[in-house]
Amino acid sequence: MTTTVDTSTRPPSSLIGGTLPTWAPALIGALAVASAVGLNMTTGLAGWFGTTIVGALIFVVIQSIWSFAVEGKRHAVDRLATTVVYSTFVIAVVPLISVLFTVLAKGLKVMSWGFLVNSMRNVSPRNPGGGAGHAIVGTLEQVALAAAFAIPVGILAAIFLVEYGRGRLARAISFFVDVMTGVPSIVAGLFIFTAFVLGLGMERSGFAAALALAILMLPVIIRTTEEMLRIVPNELREASYALGVPKWRTVLKVVLPTSLAGIVTGAMLAVARVAGETAPLLLTTFLTQSYNNNPFAGPQAALPTFIWDQITSGTTASVDRAWAGALVLITLIMIFYIVAKLLANRFAPKG
């Protein structure tokens, strides 16, 4: 739908003014890189950051002057805008690559089978060794519990909004689902703490953490399910009604199966989103260094709180463990994320 005409490759015409040759940006770019690197070597410019900035400035200045002279002001501005737009994307990609690369490089340093199965029991923060096995178990259990709460409620709520909802109630719910997406994760943790730990006298546990995560998952699941249900063609529903099938069986047997893949994708994305949440866990489960496979009693570790604990310990060995924990966490999330995307691509409704 975005058929943008590429003005830069248009053949020269007598009706329009002069244009820069198509190889002009490449030439200016090479010139800018060469002069920035040259300046860096001769004058000791402030590091790679300063070199990049100076190189970009040289590029912009030469391009603007040349373009202004040949093509006029409007095209010079256009070229400047194009440069800025392209560089914003580079700006976004640099931290992403830096984060992923650092996690990989530093995480692999202490990564081993032992790290995945051992706990931190009887391991001093100062000594190397130990592992995140207890935290992996905790994260998987808490996220599974959270999903068990949030997915059924979320899907039902989405069914209400799409199939049954009318009038003010549905509008209010729809609005607050959006607002709920923006509830800070620490507020979800505070709420579970005040309501369940202070209010009902529950102990801090993996279960309490799962409740906080469920609150964060719920709006994501409602939104994605709602979108999937809305693209189910109405003809399918009408065909079902025409056969005398009641509405609730139509929803269960026709609408849901049609959109199932999309709903599963949304659920996976929601799981990926909450698996890395740290703040609500800090408030709702205590840190522990040992295996606790029972999420309903006693403190339970999780990968994000494991990383937090290891960073705040602040020793060389513990920071190494923090990076390894980060690698495990990011791998887990990427698996969820990529499976979700593959499912979405594979089963996306056709037509």
């Binding site: 739908m1 975005t2 943008t4 005409v5 402030a46 590091g47 950051f49 300063g50 409007r74 501005v77 256009d78 400047l80 805008a81 194009t82 800025v84 737009v85 914003t88 994307f89 976004a92 990609v93 931290p95 984060v99 059924p152 409620v153 039902l156 709520a157 209400f160 049954y164 689902v177 959006d178 607002v179 923006g182 800070p184 507020v187 709420f191 005040t194 309501a195 719920l218 409602i222 809305r230 189910v232 109405n234 009604y241 009641p246 509405k247 609730w248 069986r249 890395g276 949440e277 740290t278 800090l282 408030l283 994000p304 990383i307 960073i311 923090a322 980060a326 990011i330 999330i333 994320y337």
Partner: protein
């Protein structure tokens, strides 16, 4: 898009068992929906309930006091420093992230080859999938040591702006670093919402501009921006909501202080969310209540920002006629 309201016209054939099945299923789904309203109301109620005890015993002014000693005798605490750190770091994050996020959206939709658009969008979404604790770790271990030179340069040449002046010559855990990390974290939100509205700009508007001889930038400025502005504003607001409530990355990066320091690159600073995470385990009964009180302020702050953002979006979609 299918209009959901038309399904209601085709009511099922009447019959006792049919009606019961529909009542049960419809009722279940209705209560699932109402759960959302109940949770939102319960958050407000429980936070207020737990915040009252500490607010009642507080001997300082809750809004202007620059210290945090709720477990002392007498208890004195206030959110002035927290509010300053939260608002300033979020504001700087917005200044950095909004132009870049809109640029990314423009790049993906209008500048990059159409075949690459999906892959590029996926890359920006990946940024959203990185958990905040990993951004915190990265900020602490990579960004702080890596940016000391740039910050020194800013202090030397931009020191006259006062905010970049660094009288301590210490370039560590500061509000400025926290703002940069926040900016990276809210970038995908701003970019994703902007991308959606830019995709909705009618092709006719863009082609008309180009057909009149506009350059690509003039087309963006005259056809895309006027149409997509409300969406971009609400994308920025959603990013702001996320920045205000971000906890762990900020808690790792700031060296918690309870004074307001206008020199943003100097160590110090604190935010609502980071303060809760850092003080939680050492807090006594009144301390927990005081933290809940600050969380309540954060809740209403993000709530109002998000409501305004959603209101702008919904008002737009009513008369846009884009689809």
């Amino acid at each position: 898009m299918a209009d959901p309201t038309t399904t209601d016209a085709a009511s099922p054939i009447s019959g006792a068992s049919v009606r019961r099945g529909d009542r049960i299923f419809g009722g279940l789904s209705k209560y699932a929906g109402i759960t959302v309203l109940v949770i939102m109301a319960a958050i407000a109620v429980f936070l207020v309930w737990q915040a009252i005890p500490s607010l009642a015993t507080n001997t300082g002014n809750f809004f202007t006091e620059q210290s945090w000693n709720p477990d002392g005798d007498p208890p004195v605490f206030g959110i002035a420093a927290l509010a300053f750190g939260t608002l300033v770091s979020s504001a700087i994050a917005m200044l950095l992230a909004v132009p870049v996020g809109i640029g990314i959206a423009l790049f993906i939709v209008l500048y990059a080859p159409a075949r690459l658009a999906a892959a590029l969008a996926f890359i920006t979404d990946l940024l959203a999938a990185v958990p905040s604790i990993i951004f915190g770790l990265w900020g602490l271990e990579v960004l702080i040591p890596g940016s000391a030179g740039v910050q020194r340069w800013m202090s030397d040449y931009l020191g006259w702006t006062v905010i970049f002046e660094n009288t301590l010559e210490l370039y560590g855990k500061s509000i400025f670093i926290a703002s940069v990390v926040l900016a990276i974290m809210i970038l995908p939100t701003v970019a994703a919402v902007s991308r959606e509205v830019i995709l909705q700009v009618p092709a006719g508007h863009k082609e008309a501009a180009l057909a009149l001889g506009a350059t690509r930038w003039e087309m963006v400025r005259m056809a895309v921006f006027p149409f997509a502005k409300p969406g971009m504003i609400s994308g920025a607001m959603l990013g702001l909501g996320r920045a205000l409530g971000e906890t762990i990355a900020v808690a790792l990066i700031l060296s918690a202080a309870f004074t307001i320091n206008i020199h943003l690159t100097e160590p110090g600073g604190n935010t609502f969310a980071a303060n809760i995470a850092l003080k939680w385990n050492e807090a006594g009964t009144n301390g927990l209540s005081a933290l809940v009180a600050s969380g309540l302020v954060l809740f209403f702050l993000t709530l109002s920002v998000n409501m305004i953002a959603r209101w702008i979006i919904s008002r737009r979609s009513e008369f846009s006629g884009a689809n």
